[in-house]
Symmetry: C2
Subunit: 313 residues, 2 copies
């Protein structure tokens, strides 16, 4: 099952790390767009070509170091259909390199619409009797505001296509408490969501004992993560907020179980745009170095906390 492959890859690469692929032309090495524009492409096609070159360079530089990448679809959507084509090709390229792709799409809608999203990102679409995979990821992020009607529609593809979800529980942003921390029936809303995620997680477990139904838990809320770890013991956490958003290794240990597993820590800008602070190396080398530094930080913090997922020193 996907979740077992993910855990095997974390152990093999010694790295519970996800590299976020959030392309923004203004932060990318300018020669990539310049070259694409000089070749005569229309602006949006040039943008897509520059993004693809950049992402493939990053993926090549980190593929042996991390189990997964997380393209954030908003950064592709802003470049229109050509950008969505780059999203599709980025997912495909990363999967061809053995990486697990987490499509950060934060979709969620009423039943029949969520079904269409599930087809788009996890399953397949029927076109006149032929099947077509629109934007194939291995796992996607899902918004819980609409309730179980929504989650249910993704479960068929999770089971049939060996895919996974990360439901938003406690997000990393400053105002996430506004709605998520309101107290209902004696506990915050995000605990209610966590209980529901746990319900779904328990219905589908890999040999590892973990579930492909995961939760998004921001690294910026370590105390909340500690509580959530107890509510969802078998649920993998996708942990954003490391690096550019301010969290460090010590902030993320509470997202891990005692076995050193149960979380994937994401960093996007801190890795892919590390070249801006490292003028002595290429952008790909800078990204690789940033992953290595993050790996040291996180594994060191886990070791200090007695949460070792690796077998030998």
């Amino acid at each position: 099952m996907l979740i077992d492959r993910l855990i095997a890859s974390i152990r093999e690469k010694r790295s519970p790390i996800v590299v976020g692929l959030d392309p923004a032309l203004e932060s990318m090495p300018p020669e990539l767009l310049e070259k694409a524009l000089a070749s005569g492409l229309a602006p949006e096609e040039a943008a897509a070509a520059a993004i693809q070159t950049f992402n493939e360079g990053i993926i090549d530089a980190v593929a042996d170091l991390v189990p997964a990448v997380k393209p954030q679809v908003a950064f592709y959507e802003q470049y229109g259909p050509a950008g969505m084509n780059a999203y599709r090709n980025t997912c495909a390229y990363a999967r061809s390199k053995g990486l697990i792709v987490i499509g950060d799409v934060k979709r969620g809608d009423i039943g029949s619409t969520s079904k269409a999203y599930s087809k788009a990102h996890l399953g397949e679409t029927n076109i006149g009797g032929a099947t077509y995979r629109a934007f194939e990821a291995d796992m996607i992020t899902v918004n819980p505001y609409l309730g179980d009607d929504c989650t249910r529609e993704f479960m068929e593809d999770v089971k049939n296509s060996d895919k996974g979800l990360f439901m938003l529980v406690k997000t990393s942003n400053p105002t996430s408490s506004q709605l998520q921390n309101l107290i209902a029936e004696g506990r915050p809303i995000f605990h209610h969501v966590a209980e529901q995620v746990n319900h779904w997680s328990e219905q589908i477990l890999g040999e590892s004992g973990y579930s492909p139904i995961g939760a998004v838990v921001g690294a910026t809320w370590p105390q909340e993560a500690e509580d959530l770890r107890k509510i969802m013991p078998k649920t993998f956490f996708l942990v954003p907020g490391y690096g550019a958003q301010g969290a460090t290794g010590k902030d993320i240990v509470s997202s891990f179980n005692a076995d050193g597993l149960g979380a994937l820590v994401n960093s996007s800008r801190g890795i892919i745009y590390a070249w801006k602070k490292n003028s002595d190396m290429t952008w790909a080398q800078a990204a690789r170095n940033a992953v290595l530094a993050m790996q040291d930080d996180i594994n060191g913090a886990l070791k200090d906390a007695g949460k070792k997922y690796w077998v030998s020193e």
Copy 2:
């Protein structure tokens, strides 16, 4: 301002109705896809071509009857980048016919990511100094789970590009109460969201006294709509759930203010797939007839409730 144009169009066409453009090949007249496939296009390109033909036919049939259309992006996303191109072209075609386009995208993320979504759907993207509009709608739906960090990022484009939002408050689906109706501080979560939407609405008002910051309130919850009308007096409601989801004219009157304004009622499948129940007319005629019937039903219900938005009989 956009909201004033919307209200003028509602009055002129005597119709607070939105036609939802949710293309699913299996529900569309089969000859559209067959013809596109016969022309030698790749399956996903043929799907996009069939959708575009269908949507343009629907738009032509209803453009003089309704102020707005609402493409649901999930149904385009399932056909990949080609589907997203059909979404883009559908938005553009509807706008060229004087219709207000509500992009039903239900996006929402942390600040920097929501900014990218805002560029994608309301504003413009910078590509090497040139500007590009990725998927231009007039208004989009936004998910509130992440809090104000998210909403804030859309406001600049709302103001600068004369656009609007509909924030999800109380959705039409059966399990919407699961999270939305939890009671915090003595009132349901969706009231808290409504109060926040009202806060944003009051910051930007048109000459009509209404705001381009709107709310999604399902037609399937008439009592809840009545309460929400009081919490958000200046907020326009986008009301899904009419028709295929079960609501009728009498269910939607509580979403309107005493002036007969303040709501737009959406029907998707009940209009665009009306041809399936009307073998004696073309699919475009059947859609037009379904809009006329819905117009009678809704205007009749509003008249009975003493909520007339039209000036003379």
